[in-house]
């Protein structure tokens, strides 16, 4: 069976992916958020598993993670909330989280649960490519999970080629040297970076993340790339408006 991520990537359109923190703003918002995002035309979802010490995240996602943990979110509870998600949702679902909670759950058990629920892939910012390759790749693959890797403007061409060679699905293209939500808007530096990557003609499509907050930045990011991910801007929207007005947010993007 083809993974839902790969099937989605074959569609002839620019993909909008949304990141949100599970169990935020309220502990029971997780499933509603996913359903509302799909209903309003979002192509792919990254479900953020909150972590106490999210190194790569800026203040918005730090705060949503802290609140979600206060609300009582855990790996176990997330799996429980998602157990029937495939009865109502068919777009690709990716869990994005830091490695320590997965390690404590047990990497094999975590991946097994993901497969049972119908999760298609994982993004683990602090699990380096080489460690994944030597220690965990076979586990992920045995449960049909795609592990998505990041590249940044500082990543060398040689390393990008290497990451491309070990990737499946797409490459998560971090738009600038920053934590999440730190910068808004793209300048000449991003344009040069986007062009450079487009010219490399990689095997895997790229989806851009970090710094995308509205229709303009979505259009800029997807000029060369297959899609874009919005995280902090979406979190801010649900912080202020709750999860019942997700349609309003999505309409401003696509």
């Amino acid at each position: 069976m083809t993974n839902r991520i790969n099937k989605k990537l074959q569609e002839d359109k620019k993909l909008l992916s949304i990141y949100f923190t599970a169990g935020y703003p309220n502990i029971d918002d997780t499933v509603t958020t996913i359903q509302n995002l799909e209903k309003n035309g979002v192509d792919m979802i990254e479900i953020g598993l909150p972590f106490s010490d999210p190194l790569a995240d800026g203040p918005t996602i730090q705060a949503s993670s802290t609140q979600a943990l206060k609300n009582g979110m855990t790996s176990e509870l997330l799996f429980e909330q998602l157990k029937d998600i495939r009865k109502t949702v068919s777009i690709p679902l990716i869990i994005m989280g830091y490695f320590n909670p997965m390690l404590q759950y047990g990497v094999d058990a975590f991946c097994k649960k993901c497969q049972e629920i119908g999760i298609d892939g994982l993004i683990i910012p602090d699990l380096p490519v080489d460690v994944y390759h030597s220690d965990y790749k076979s586990i992920f693959e045995s449960y049909g999970l795609i592990n998505i890797f990041l590249i940044t403007p500082q990543t060398s061409d040689e390393r990008i080629r290497f990451i491309d060679s070990v990737s499946d699905g797409f490459i998560y293209m971090v738009s600038s040297a920053s934590t999440t939500g730190a910068k808004s808007g793209f300048g000449d530096e991003q344009e040069a970076y986007f062009t450079r990557i487009a010219n490399m003609k990689l095997n895997n499509p790229q989806i851009v993340g970090f710094g995308i907050s509205n229709s303009d930045t979505f259009t800029q990011a997807t000029k060369y790339a297959k899609g874009a991910i919005i995280g902090s801007a979406f979190i801010k929207h649900v912080t202020n408006n709750g999860v019942d007005t997700i349609d309003q947010f999505v309409k401003t993007i696509i």
Binding site: L55, N100, P101
Partner: protein, 393 residues
């Protein structure tokens, strides 16, 4: 079997570099260069010159006669408290600032808990005329005001870490986030033997001057390079790593690592990582850390801000796991009492971190002819208010 780091950046199963891709170029640049640069003769010359003329090394190895009499054994104190800036921390910051200069970096960031590493970093930045930003938990800023003032006077910018528990672990997170946002011109001077490889090894090498000097000094005083015991306190573990370094694989020398039990190991307010921690990942390193069953990092407690860290360096996690070192947990009360005792027996007011190491003598009996070296890692000036409050002085 070696207890030092292997070619892959691990001590046994601990260590490695579990970092986001954003930090990969920085860490790779360091990994490729830190040994090459620090082993370069001109680097060594500059490093040793500064340690001698600026820091005041070698630090004395002092035979503590009255303390030895009290515990009926032979106790030597390695006087890192006499270093410029008052602790062992400066050995590392001198090394890293020279490294940063050779890598062409123009901006320095650091994390600090008690403020000792922040002061040591601000000091070397002033010395070299390099911009310095120190991240410090908001709570630590409040409880370590004199060190905050020192950093500011030295020209550093002190940025409060407002996230999470607003202490050392969050200051470290903020420093790493700064580095992600400033990957090209900035070097991050990590203050302990923690963080992603090569930091634990790099910091241990710069602190290894301590055990190198112990060998020579002990040979002069006792006719042997080998003490029977080495004792040091462990938060992240940099003074301990420096004390043990040249003795790691010499099993004639016993190693004792002292952790902060806080209000008691089982009190829920403790920083005894070896007892309370499980294997996991903190700040880019696979090591022992205090965490929930769900893998969320928990907040430690110790009266000593310098030991108030939920992890421990991977070298020490391996020393614990293999049994190479004996780990002893000392409570706040035991440490404070030992600090007062040293003050009145030897005329030396130790940092509260160091007082934990000194409290071992109430816990463990040594033979009269045992030779014991304790790293007196810092002086107590910064802790005066704590001592005043505790003893109602």
């Amino acid at each position: 079997m070696s207890y030092n780091i292997n070619e892959k950046g691990y001590y046994g199963e601990f260590g490695g570099a579990y970092i986001p891709e954003m930090l990969y170029p920085n860490i790779e640049e360091l990994s490729q260069n830190y040994i090459k640069i620090s082993e370069d003769p001109s680097f060594k010359e500059e490093f040793n010159q500064l340690l001698k003329d600026y820091v005041g090394r070698p630090s004395p190895l002092y035979f503590a006669k009255r303390l030895s009499e009290k515990y009926n054994t032979k106790i030597y104190l390695k006087r890192e408290d006499l270093n410029h800036t008052g602790a062992h921390k400066v050995n590392n910051t001198i090394g890293q600032i020279l490294l940063a200069k050779r890598l062409g970096k123009t901006r320095i960031i650091a994390e600090t808990g008690a403020g000792q590493h922040g002061v040591a970093t601000a000091t070397v930045c002033a010395l070299m005329g390099i911009e310095c930003v120190v991240y410090m938990g908001e709570i630590d800023i409040a409880r370590q005001a004199p060190n905050v003032a020192r950093m500011k006077m030295l020209g550093a910018k002190v940025v409060p870490a407002l996230s999470g528990s607003r202490t050392l672990k969050d200051a470290t997170n903020e420093a790493m986030r700064d580095w992600i946002n400033n990957p090209v011109n900035t070097h991050y001077i990590v203050g302990s033997v923690v963080g992603p490889h090569p930091y634990p090894d790099m910091v241990a090498r710069f602190q290894a001057i301590v055990s190198e000097e112990i060998k020579t000094q002990l040979k002069e005083k006792e006719g042997t390079e080998n003490p029977d015991y080495l004792i040091a306190c462990v938060g992240g573990g940099s003074n301990a790593a420096g004390t043990y370094y040249h003795y790691l694989d010499n099993t004639d020398v016993n190693i004792i690592a002292v952790e902060a039990a806080g209000k008691g190991v089982d009190s829920g307010q403790s920083a005894a990582t070896s007892v309370l921690g499980k294997e996991g990942i903190i700040h880019g390193s696979k090591t022992l850390l205090m965490q929930t069953n769900d893998g969320q990092i928990t907040e430690p407690y110790s009266i000593s801000a310098g030991l108030d860290y939920p992890g421990v360096g991977p070298m020490h996690a391996n020393l614990y796991k293999t049994g190479r070192a004996e780990f002893i947990a000392i409570t706040d009360d035991e440490a404070m009492t030992a600090g007062l005792e040293l003050s009145q027996l030897e005329g030396i007011i130790p940092a509260i971190e160091t007082s934990h190491a000194l409290a071992v003598f109430e816990h463990k009996t040594f033979n009269p002819d045992d030779i014991i070296v304790v790293n007196l890692s810092g002086r107590g000036d910064k802790d005066l208010q704590n001592y005043i409050d505790y003893f109602k002085l």
